[in-house]
Point group: C2
Chain length 458, copies 2
């Protein structure tokens, strides 16, 4: 084993660290798995360094775990004993903003927030956004096909990616720093690496497409008496103002009860409602847009589609509305240990999913606190379940309940967080045998020695 480290040190010098020289931050990602010191940490500065490192690991058939911002929740970047960690943190920098093409080219280790800020300063918006923006990296975002709150408007990371540079398992560098929306010259191989969670190659450089900046964001909280009504509101809003909707988040009754009860926020509405919606739209700079937003909500109210609504009148008001949606970040302070799920359910089965939880949760775990919320315009919900003295048996029981439910409704066990190590045992619930066989073939094609993030995804 020390052979591979010696070879790496000879090729890369001080970019290779071992033992106590490896910072503890590289011992874990955000998945909650047991921190583990990798056998070595490589801190490359160029694509060529990464190519050299992978070539050596490939020759030695030594497993490598690629690390970006270490914010992943599925254990994709979490080191296992004996693995060499390859951190992209020094591959940090924006190389070009092309105003004409509305594109940004950056090294893969650049933090998302840096990219967002650079896009903003150049008069554009970066369509990728998520809570971990301060620490996550653009390479990690693309490697996991990250989602977030604004997918209904800008799509997932895949849709925002125009070009990639990737180092393959054997050290081959492959590059298509494409800036064009249309490029049908042969297979678009970049799609292979988007969402592959570091198991097929290491993304080293990216070109993302930028969007026009929103000019007049309007925010509202709306109460509806059923998810079916929420869907009508969604489709009617999109019909009335195509391209305007930025955010369409649903928070079911139990979620608001925890927010106002345990987390101590003031009640959003006088009465209790089955679903509370957080809606944001870019209505443009013209004040007529602002008016049109409130007007439409008024129409929904008159049609008895929404039961109550408040529109934010200021940035502070907007923050107050978002505070409800962000209470899950505070649960640790108020609730016993939680299991958190990130799943998709087809929209026409969503009500069924929630009702099933409402029936089964209290029956199995009478003191369970459970909440359902999420990016419903994308079919994506999060389910958090907190149970006092949760042991492995309870954990497995809750997981079985949720995953069987999702699978039975034709949903997906991972909407935006990926599979990583943590959801790997459940992959067969969302993917058939022919699908998994094809995935295995893709892995075999690109990483025949199985050195890249082994044991993740497949």
């Amino acid at each position: 084993m020390s052979n591979v480290i010696e070879a790496l040190a000879a090729a890369l010098g001080t970019q290779v660290r071992t033992g106590s020289d490896i910072p503890s931050r590289n011992h874990a990602d955000a998945s909650g798995l047991q921190p583990t010191q990798p056998l070595a940490l490589i801190l490359p500065q160029t694509t060529e360094d990464i190519a050299a490192a992978l070539k050596i690991c490939h020759q030695h058939r030594h497993p490598v775990v690629t690390q970006g911002g270490l914010t992943g929740l599925a254990g994709g970047a979490h080191p296992e004993t004996g693995e060499i960690a390859l951190s992209l943190e020094r591959m940090n920098g924006i190389e070009e903003i092309d105003q004409a093409s509305a594109t940004l080219t950056a090294l893969a280790g650049t933090p998302l927030a840096t990219i967002q800020q650079a896009a903003d300063e150049a008069g554009f918006l970066c369509g990728i956004d998520l809570g971990a923006r301060g620490s996550c990296t653009i390479g990690g975002n693309i490697a996991t096909n990250a989602g977030g709150n604004q997918v209904v408007r800008y799509g997932m990371a895949r849709r925002n990616t125009l070009g990639l540079e990737v180092v393959l398992a054997d050290g081959t560098v492959i590059r298509s720093l494409n800036k064009m929306l249309k490029n049908n010259a042969g297979y678009d191989w970049t799609q292979l690496f988007i969402g592959s969670e570091g198991t097929l190659g290491v993304i080293t450089r990216v070109v993302i497409g930028l969007h026009p900046k929103p000019q007049g964001i309007q925010t509202a909280l709306c109460a509806v008496s059923s998810f079916d009504d929420a869907l009508v509101v969604l489709r009617k809003f999109q019909q009335a103002h195509p391209g305007r909707l930025l955010v369409f988040e649903a928070m079911w009754r139990e979620f608001m009860t925890v927010a106002t009860g345990i987390c101590g926020l003031p009640a959003a509405f006088e009465a209790e409602h089955d679903v509370t919606l957080l809606i944001e739209a870019d209505m443009g700079e013209d004040p007529a847009g602002t008016e049109a937003f409130s007007l439409l909500l008024g129409e929904f109210y008159e049609q008895n589609l929404i039961k109550d609504a408040v529109v934010a009148q200021s940035r502070a008001g907007r923050n107050r509305f978002w505070a409800y949606r962000e209470t899950p970040y505070e649960y640790g302070r108020f609730l016993p240990e939680e299991i958190r799920f990130d799943v998709s359910v087809p929209l026409n089965r969503m009500t069924e999913a929630v009702e099933h939880l409402r029936q089964e949760m209290p029956r199995h775990w009478p003191d369970a606190v459970y909440v359902v919320f999420g990016h419903v315009a994308d079919s994506n919900i999060h389910i958090n379940v907190a149970i006092r003295d949760m042991d492995d048996g309870i954990k497995k029981g809750v997981q079985k309940l949720v995953y069987d439910l999702v699978s039975g409704l034709g949903g997906s066990i991972s909407a935006e967080h990926g599979i990583g190590r943590i959801k790997r045992p459940y992959l067969p619930l969302s993917r058939t045998e022919p699908e998994r066989e094809l995935m295995a073939k893709m892995k075999q094609m690109l990483d025949p020695e199985g050195i890249l993030n082994p044991g993740r995804v497949l």
Copy 2:
């Protein structure tokens, strides 16, 4: 060879035709290649039929060309001597429109126009649209990652595809009829088949995402004095009305000269301008939107960004504007033989590209009629070149001029039409050796006997 036909006939009965029972329409696609009668034509009605047929062809290592609407311009579906044609024309029908999910599920042989109409009747818009809509099929659209006029708003076929059912070369059926915007459960293998031009598998069933219907389309013709000004207009429009822009087509001076001269349309503006833009936006149902559209064009005029503009006041007016853009369909009546190019050029190099053509075309072929036009918001231009008594030597010369130019500027030799058989020799101009090697590996992985559309793309 008759062995494979016998086996196919035994398995599929009257679905297999040979000799003069093969309609002449199956002898050619729209690429202009010499019509060729395939060895046999298979007309399957189900996915299982296709699986059975491919299994047999795979066992016999016999080449198969898959045919959809036969509207492709790159020769992807054009049969070669000895090939068995697999036509999807009987795999025709819409299976489901899911109102809640805003998705449409259809068999791959369904014509695009049928899908557009069904979406419309259900209150939605199909985001895929192109000139051949009446005959092209949704499977062919996805297999070629089709583009069209509205890519700036709805993206290419890839972005509109949520789920696929595919039959692999050996007859394995693989299916993910996903309806959800977010699904990160393992590799998204469907991406492999989108834009693979039938060389990696046969698409048999599709799920596409639907969009809200535009409520108030506004159309304008605008004259600008340079492409740089056109780009400023593009970005300012997107900034002022995010999500509204549907169409942003540029027609350079030579194009308008042919339209008004040879094709006989009335002059669009009093003076001649370097670039004429055809702009469409969905300004919503509110009359304020209509006003805002004209108002913004007025501002551009005052800023001297646009030199002249007319806004369509009626459907007839809109059609008159589109008539300019559609003159290339009439060239056959007025011009000598043409070569037509579909290329991408990064937007910051576009002016260079056009100026190079303006310098080199007349120098080499003094009587050449050449026009440049296209979907510039997507970096996609079409170049048509008509030269009297065009022989192979001239043809090759023009191709070399255009492809060298595009390649030198970092563009793509195929923006939306694909590679097929016709552009295959030029693939190295747009793709590096490591890229082509990876493509070859993908082909080898999915079609080890090389039976699917051999000689296309790679």
